[in-house]
Symmetry: C3
Subunit: 194 residues, 3 copies
Amino acid sequence: MAATGLISALLLFLLICSSSISSSEKTRRPQPCKRLVLYFHDIVYNGKNAQNATSAIVASPAWGNKTTLATPIFFGDVVVFDDPITLDNNLRSTPVGRARGFYLYDRKDFFSAWFGFSFAFNSTRLNGTINFAGADDIMKTTRDLSVVGGTGDFFMTRGIATLMTDAFEDDRYFRLRVDVKAIRMLLAKDFVHG
Amino acid sequence: MAATGLISALLLFLLICSSSISSSEKTRRPQPCKRLVLYFHDIVYNGKNAQNATSAIVASPAWGNKTTLATPIFFGDVVVFDDPITLDNNLRSTPVGRARGFYLYDRKDFFSAWFGFSFAFNSTRLNGTINFAGADDIMKTTRDLSVVGGTGDFFMTRGIATLMTDAFEDDRYFRLRVDVKAIRMLLAKDFVHG
Amino acid sequence: MAATGLISALLLFLLICSSSISSSEKTRRPQPCKRLVLYFHDIVYNGKNAQNATSAIVASPAWGNKTTLATPIFFGDVVVFDDPITLDNNLRSTPVGRARGFYLYDRKDFFSAWFGFSFAFNSTRLNGTINFAGADDIMKTTRDLSVVGGTGDFFMTRGIATLMTDAFEDDRYFRLRVDVKAIRMLLAKDFVHG
């Protein structure tokens, strides 16, 4: 499968990244990790797409409801999501994990959101999560969220995730390209032997 | 405008702060930033103030609703906000950005909240976001939240935000004074050349 | 009371931990903290248990409601909690603080959650908060969340919290064992004298 090749490429990247982290033992300075570019796909439940939907409105302001985003610009809607993460921009590609958490529309005058979520990888060879939080100015070409932590292969990771809206179909579907620039602040051994 | 002078003062502070960060290249130790004191203003939607409201109840417990905070002490209410940030304690001052995100009332016995939000600066000369998370013991004079990350001018920032309730009018309006004590853990160049 | 002895033990641990932090002044490298093992207890409001409940469903998808978790696996339900933290696994033990914040069920196919919350300690001798965020794969024996920050005695703390489900009674009660492995990235004096 094509996905296997892509997963190998991703793992190779991660091995390189891990090597550079291991070599940091001598200096104990944080070491850079190269970019990790992934996509995730969000299909909001609209009352008719229970099978395909990957997310659902779970809260809304007094003037909203749970099957259509609030007019005029969705302010106050809270969406819980369980979105597939893919290595390319194809919704049908084999997922390498799930983007899980919530976003809420947080501006009265502009399309804008606030995210709290995790990338949870489910490959047998790639484990762990990356945790994100921050504001997403949807109308800007790129915008940065914080990597607030990580677990497993991403233990003690910090950095920036640059989001781009790669596709947007009304309020039915969006696809975000996420460019993670992460750095490991500490090694696990710092916890054990420190 | 008075706001211009204040913005200049803020920018001067930030330049000083940036300088101390630049000088840290030699030692590569995190450098302190002085205090950044700002205010934000929250007016909850109550069914009648759609124009003035800066926030809205979007979720509530079974015994609550979306136009009045739940009795007796708001437990379970979730509020999404898009609040103006000002340099002084005047709601009418020119905003330097927006405080965006959510808070929820999280205690059954005391007035208390939990915040996840960003300061998003919208000045042409001041860009970026500061991301916050943590518990807000409303009844205490001061309480600390975590700065969990930042972007743009606040790249890789960490620290503490000390909140004070600067004004409180029933459940219609509150103003928080936020004293950010932030520190940059890494420089952008650490990511590029590391 | 037994709780007093246990609290003493906990404080002793924290003193040891603080000592190792103090000695780090010379090298200014982050120092490890030993483990901090605690339990918290969650009883969801079901329409009949207002006195005992420590949490409440505050948001749910279109097919859910606020007194029963959504079928089939709770996807989309958001719960705000104010749970007692105890030093052992006994719900009736004297709490040493509150676990406060929210979780939401974030998977369509598996029992799984996403947490944003704080441990807020309320002992006169133990102050401060630890702030957590991350994904909780409920069905796994252990799973890691990020410590995204801390305040007070946990100033600038980072690390990992390993969760275990210590007890689970249908959808009425659960008890989580939390094994915090935290490290202080900086000392307060770094902010003052840096």
